[in-house]
């Protein structure tokens, strides 16, 4: 029931796919309240992640996540690059050299990712950032993992559902971090692009785990 390097690779490739598919949507969300590059940045990074994974032969989930982390840090730029990069890097560190991760481990990786993004970006829930998607996702994953017999798919599916809701919640918020914060009240009514991309990526992970 665990997931090895291959499974994690599949999940990361699925994330790359969903980012490519939603590139324009993410650009449009960022155009409304930011600088119209979030979809382009994420897609540029994940395209190289796909190439990097094809070139490498990672043997553990941690190695896969580390390749993704380093690529995102060196290819995405902007705010999302360091934040997603940190998320993947912290998860990689947490995974250490385990050859497989189980449902409980997945929760721990998600929590490590969240802690990393919070430490880097200093955003709180309610600031209208990716934190608003990732925080409820981790809580939901934790709750799902506490159910006897929960598998990775169930955990990630719960996380994705919660992230969707969390992203939705940013529509009504006044942003306090990132570029959208300059807009203040005028940003109300728009979904945060980073929260949306977080929800999309978690959904891709969940689908890959089924």
């Amino acid at each position: 029931m665990g997931c090895g390097a291959e499974g994690v690779t599949k999940a990361v490739l699925a994330a790359a796919g969903v980012v490519a598919e939603h590139r324009t949507e993410l650009i449009e969300l960022d155009r409304a309240i930011g600088d119209a590059d979030h979809g382009e940045n994420m897609n540029r990074g994940f395209t190289v992640v796909v190439a990097a994974l094809a070139d490498a032969t990672p043997e553990t989930p941690g190695e896969v996540l580390k390749i993704a982390a380093k690529t995102l840090i060196s290819k995405v730029g902007g705010a999302a690059g360091p934040l997603y990069g940190t998320a993947f890097l912290r998860a990689a560190t947490k995974a250490a050299d385990q050859s497989e991760v189980d449902a409980q481990a997945v929760v721990e990786l998600l929590r490590a990712a969240l802690d990393g993004v919070r430490a880097r970006g200093k955003a709180e829930v309610g600031d209208a950032t990716m934190i608003d998607a990732l925080t409820p996702a981790v809580a939901a994953a934790e709750a799902a993992a506490a159910v006897a017999g929960a598998d990775i798919a169930a955990v990630l599916s719960a996380a994705a559902d919660a992230a969707d809701q969390g992203a939705e919640s940013t529509v009504d918020l006044v942003p306090r971090k990132g570029r959208a914060s300059y807009l203040g009240e005028r940003a109300v009514g728009h979904m945060d692009p980073g929260a949306r991309s977080t929800a999309l990526i978690l959904r891709a992970f969940a689908e890959a785990a089924r």
């Binding site: 650009i27 155009r31 309240i33 930011g34 600088d35 119209a36 590059d37 382009e40 940045n41 540029r44 840090i73 060196s74 290819k75 995405v76 730029g77 902007g78 705010a79 999302a80 690059g81 360091p82 934040l83 880097r120 970006g121 306090r176 971090k177 990132g178 570029r179 959208a180 914060s181 300059y182 807009l183 203040g184 005028r186």
Partner: protein, 333 residues
């Protein structure tokens, strides 16, 4: 979208190729990571002044690389902060034991990426200091936002710290000077039209024919408020008031006034606005002793202007006047 480009993904790389051809006497360009480097770098014994950020603000930063100003510029994708490895490569290419000063505009992405780069470079043994410029008075309350943005003041900061490094100031001294400049420079901008990011393909915001964005940033992020188009007299007064009522300008001060085109505002309008601004400052007892007028920190093809005021003293004036030889600023050489 009407642009003279090939594939939007190649815009920055292809543009840098042209920059290198046009200005091979003062700079060279490196690919992957993309860097603009002083032709004579590393300059023995001197602090390397380095800046960077998203592309689309040209001549900032690559056009300010050269003697007496930047040692390297790190261009990211359009409106996107460069990555830490690129910044680290710039430090490695230009800085020696005298160290490097990183000039970072206050945007979450720039701050995070440059932070990581500074750590990486320090780990390699190069002394690095970072300063974050946040001169945009349009952002009102920094407690509840990512803080004020770095805008027009960046140009002046790069010139002045570049001159200090050129005369041989230590890293400590250049850093102290940078913090002093940041403490006494303020800016504000206005947009008449929106820029179009090449990879996005549509204008970054929609403005009616009689509307302008007051307090605009340089990335097409919408401004402080949307107001009706007004006369140059009224608009420039609004800009001057916003800056002067912010610290630290008072009657009796000597200042540098920088009247900047955001890209598509032609010189005929820019000089017109500059003349009004000087008149209004004189009425407040503020003496303009140095000026810079032109498109120096832009937002692609956005129509609009920004005003920047820097409080001067003898030291800053001398550093401003010091020789500079870059594609965009050149005097005394």
């Amino acid at each position: 979208m009407k642009k003279i480009i090939n594939d939007p993904a190649d815009v920055v790389a292809e543009s840098l190729r042209g920059l290198a051809l046009a200005h091979g006497d003062v700079l060279r360009v490196q690919e992957d990571p993309a860097l603009v480097i002083r032709a004579d770098a590393p300059v023995e014994g001197k602090v390397a002044v380095i800046s960077g950020g998203g592309s689309g603000h040209e001549p900032l930063h690559g056009g300010f690389v050269g003697t007496g100003m930047l040692h390297a510029a790190v261009p990211g994708a359009v409106f996107t902060s460069p990555t830490p490895d690129a910044v680290e490569a710039a430090v490695a290419a230009t800085a020696g034991p005298a160290g490097a000063l990183l000039i970072v505009k206050n945007y979450t992405g720039d701050v995070l990426n440059f932070e990581t780069a500074a750590e990486l470079a320090e780990a390699e043994g190069t002394p690095v200091r970072s300063v974050v410029i946040d001169d945009d008075v349009a952002v009102k309350d920094s407690t509840y936002t990512a803080g004020r943005r770095g805008v027009g003041g960046t140009v002046l900061l790069e010139k002045i710290t570049g001159a200090a490094a050129e005369r041989g100031d230590s890293l400590d001294d250049v850093e102290t000077l940078a913090r002093k400049v940041i403490g006494q420079v303020r800016s504000i901008g206005v947009a008449l039209t929106a820029p179009t990011v090449p990879h996005a393909g549509t204008p970054s915001f929609d403005l009616a024919d009689d509307e302008i964005e007051f307090g605009i940033g340089i990335h097409g992020e919408p401004g402080r408020e949307r107001i009706p188009l007004e006369s140059a007299d009224a608009l420039v007064a609004r800009l001057v008031t916003a800056i002067v009522e912010d610290l630290p300008f008072a009657s009796g001060d000597e200042v540098l006034l920088f009247t900047n085109s955001m890209g598509a505002t032609p010189l005929v309008e820019l000089y017109l606005a500059h003349g009004i601004a000087e008149k209004l400052l004189a009425e407040r007892g503020i003496t303009v002793t140095r000026r810079l007028v032109g498109p120096y920190i832009t937002s692609l093809e956005m129509q609009g202007i920004s005003l920047t005021l820097l409080k001067l003293d003898a030291e800053l004036t001398a550093l401003w006047d010091a020789p500079v030889n870059t594609p965009a600023l050149r005097w005394g050489i």
